[in-house]
Symmetry: C2
Subunit: 449 residues, 2 copies
Amino acid sequence: MSHLIIVGGSDAGISAALRARELDSSIQVTMIVEDAFPNYSICGLPFYLSGEVPDYRQLAHRTREEINGAGIDLLLNHTAQAIDPEAHSVTVKDSAERVQRIFYDRLILATGARSRRPHIGGLNLLGVFFLHTMENSFQMQHYLSTHSVHSALIVGGGYIGLEMADALTRRGLTVTLVEHGASVLKTIDPSLGTLVQAELEQHGVVVHTNIGVQQIVAGQEHLCISGAGGFTASADVVLVAVGVEPRTDLAQAIGAELGMQGAIRVSRAMETSVPDVLAAGDCVETWHHLLRQPMYLPLGTTAHKQGRIAGATAIGKPALFAGTLGTQVVKVFDQVVARTGLREHEAKAAGFDPLTVEGRYFDHKVYYPGAQPVCMSLTGDRRTGRLLGAQMVGPVQTEVAKRIDVIAMALFHEMTVEALSDLDLSYTPPLGSPWDPVQMCAQAWTHRA
Amino acid sequence: MSHLIIVGGSDAGISAALRARELDSSIQVTMIVEDAFPNYSICGLPFYLSGEVPDYRQLAHRTREEINGAGIDLLLNHTAQAIDPEAHSVTVKDSAERVQRIFYDRLILATGARSRRPHIGGLNLLGVFFLHTMENSFQMQHYLSTHSVHSALIVGGGYIGLEMADALTRRGLTVTLVEHGASVLKTIDPSLGTLVQAELEQHGVVVHTNIGVQQIVAGQEHLCISGAGGFTASADVVLVAVGVEPRTDLAQAIGAELGMQGAIRVSRAMETSVPDVLAAGDCVETWHHLLRQPMYLPLGTTAHKQGRIAGATAIGKPALFAGTLGTQVVKVFDQVVARTGLREHEAKAAGFDPLTVEGRYFDHKVYYPGAQPVCMSLTGDRRTGRLLGAQMVGPVQTEVAKRIDVIAMALFHEMTVEALSDLDLSYTPPLGSPWDPVQMCAQAWTHRA
């Protein structure tokens, strides 16, 4: 093993490259990046468009110089066109259309995902945007800066939809959010989704649920949006944020096996079915630590971890991806929404006998100024008492993002709900209670089960 | 088992009572409380004295009515004078000096701790205070409200000393803090203690370290304090906060075995050496989860847990105390200091081969406004790679208290430092990084080890 080629320069690709070089500095690493923005924080795009991050260059996790300094050769603005797995070569084309063939000992596909394009008419109209790449964000930024834009309609109430509702409101736009499902943020229970919707509405966002958008038409002054059940609305711009799908063209062309939702099937060491070809990040299936099976769950944290594993495996020091727990967090205006593990219906589908208990607990002793409630739900298995998952919604100051991490840790170690009360968690009146909310909810669950 | 008597109505006592009644509502529970303040938050006293908690009654975790409503009989202002373990009786005296004898099937001693009185002359002078009981806080509150008090000197740079330096500064006093050791907060490494000292000084607290106070004398206008090496200072009030010692008079009188620092020796089910007598909280030894041996570490969180175990064991449903990890957190002005597990010298003494790595990591992606550094140190065992402990100092917004909980969870499960990178922790740019600071520090440790 002497030459590692990585296709893709985002989270998974860079993590793989860094890990390979960290473990074996004799390895030559070449990274093929289709744009000029390796190692940019895609998760940061909403904050660039909100104006909170004034210069897009701040979004770089590392500069090109730092990447080069780590011993990684960058081929920027190069597209990987084809792979010859027999010859162990990749054919790349640069922006001047020059084509070359480069040879690998091992190859890592970190080709990521692309925005899903739903069946809505008018997606190619001027003023209709997707948001997944740096180029997407430049287009939208340019349009917002050069046109008289006062209103936006967002299709999709998932993480990006909510962050962009926040971002565009902050930018001064009037925002309408249209969600196909019965509540925003389908990854949490509707009872908590309602709290998120209230937070959006409190900041002026008009939220429509149970509406499938069908058509966008360019009117004289606005874009006109219509949907099921006679829904109509108008806006200066439309953002379509209905999720992503894995980019697997290269993998498919070499016959790599695909799995869940068309993502590349990989072993827990991040090997594809093609010899010497590994894959990681948003283009692959993700092993679920609790379900003990793969699913498609593209997330930056996971991409980092998978990339790190792929880098190690590629240089002959195989590691195993421990799996996702489905931990996710998003900040929407002043509220933070976090979840990890399985929700009731997911647990039931997996053969558990789930019980979910909801509660409302102050983040710290109520006598100390500023105590605010955390709304949380906790799911456990009635048969075994095993903890299965939790969700929380609370103001930023309630440290919900880190409290979900305690649950994630407990899930990782397959703890029972009851055992949460054994944990020696930190306490001081301004920041907690002798029993953390997580433990109070666990005790309520045990009492009910 | 039908009558459970509990001596002491603070954290351990109430937790025991509630747990016993929760598990068996047929149990009669009588709680002997020497003052009129059962279930008050002693940890909240600094915030009462700072003025942040305007009414001391807010410090009650539960009202008397709630305690009675849970089926617990309160004997307030009653002192347990003697126990007859043969007869299974407790002799109690009320405030009118009436004595009665009550019989138990099981007895739980939750007598707590008292302030340690160091060898300093003048501790009984007017204007010299300790702070451990409600009565202590009333005395100090009354004095501060009725005298012209402009300055305070605090003896002791531990948790209470630091919280009171913050509290009295907030109240408008000029505060001097005198610490016997080389740095404040001896429970963390001096390199981090220095940061805490800087925070104190930035808020106007004058800090003296390496000074043993020897004498307090009443001067004409002030109290005059003198110490080793010619140290002199003056102040309107002095607070002595040099720790606590277990209250074990009743236990000793019945021949209960004592252990570390004179605390009552208990099994992990919270049984003393005397049949049918259990004990919990600040009066007992605490099992250390990592060291697998008892130590004296009186903390509110531990008292709650031990009380809960004692309540279960007392009614014949024995449970085992999982042990402390030494998790502690304190807020000092705008900084939070947290620790868990073993420090380097503790680990060495326990036979480990510790390596400690220090690092400075932003609490969230630096491109998102408001990112602030967390200073942390992480200790692991070189031989086995096992995680042994961590310490963190960071501004309140950096969620240090909950990040230490992730380490505490990892310690509880005896994880290696390396395995921290496997954890699916939450991430969103305003609140974290794809690798949490905890994981970044773990990776730095692994790289060094």
